[in-house]
């Protein structure tokens, strides 16, 4: 059963409840270079494998970029 998510403000879905670390891997993202906010809470790198995505979860996947 598909899981519906809001990722960076847009609708997204995965086919089954997977771990956050798996989601990042699917998107080709290195956990070391992103910051993940999961339902408004920041997830430490070491906990990415413990969190399992469920219906209506909201994800913000962020990165540091150049800024002044």
């Amino acid at each position: 059963m598909p899981v519906h998510l809001i990722v960076n403000g847009k609708a997204a879905q995965v086919t089954e409840p997977i771990r956050l670390s798996e989601f990042l891997a699917m998107r080709g993202l290195d956990p070391d270079s992103v910051v993940v906010e999961y339902n408004l809470a920041i997830i430490p790198k070491e906990d990415l494998g413990k969190t399992i995505l469920k219906e209506n979860d909201r994800l913000e996947i962020l990165r540091f970029v150049g800024g002044g």
């Binding site: 270079s33 913000e60 990165r63 540091f64 150049g66 002044g68």
Partner: protein
Amino acid sequence: MSGGGEQMTDELKIGGRDFQSRLLLGTGKLFSDALIPEIVTSSGAQIITVALRRIDFESETENILRHIPRDIQLMPNTSGARNADEAVRIARIARAAGCGNLIKIEVIADNKYLMPDGYETVRATEILAKEGFIVLPYVSPDLMVAKRLVDAGAAAVMPLGAPIGSNRGLKTKELIRILIDEIDLPIIVDAGLGKPSHACEAMEMGADACLVNTAIAGARDPVAMAGAFGKAVQAGREAYLAGPGTESLVAAASSPLTGFLHENSTGAGRSG
């Protein structure tokens, strides 16, 4: 705002850490983040700003942090925030991401001149200072806002010299001068400085540091320009400490005022 003293120990103190360099770097708009190490070296900067943005899944972009040398102090900014709450949220994410507790508050709701919102900035500063952040708020050079930032627990005040990215120089000199005179925190001129002479002038006036981004990133040779800003900031600081002479409306001979070959000369001028 700083006193004088021995140059040996003339350090910029921000949040309990001492910095030898008084030039802070922004990293926006560089044509390649790979330039950062060279820019850091040429400028001597020890504090560097970065921003936080959503990943764009369509375009592959690198993590800027891998280009920033280990010993550099990161200072994430809250750019993108339109009010205090958003600024607070960004600050917390940045700290959670391991960037340390230095944060540049930037709250902007005006899209044309990018002028900061002093009221919301004070609010965000208050909240974040209580949470243990070292808060450096970016503001218009308004004395009463600066006083409120002192009360709110800011670690420095960062007034703008001109609109962000305009390269127009130290256009708010008159107001920054007042902050330097009245506010007992480091004053770091941020935004608008377009040339090394602008930064040098800010330092001569007694500013404690300058933050530069666009003027370096937009130069034909950013590495060389970063070096130029580094020297200019140092020159301005040293001049401030060296105690400049006074201006005069008329001339004052720099060669002796006895004439060269004129009896009883009261002085034919000479230069310098």
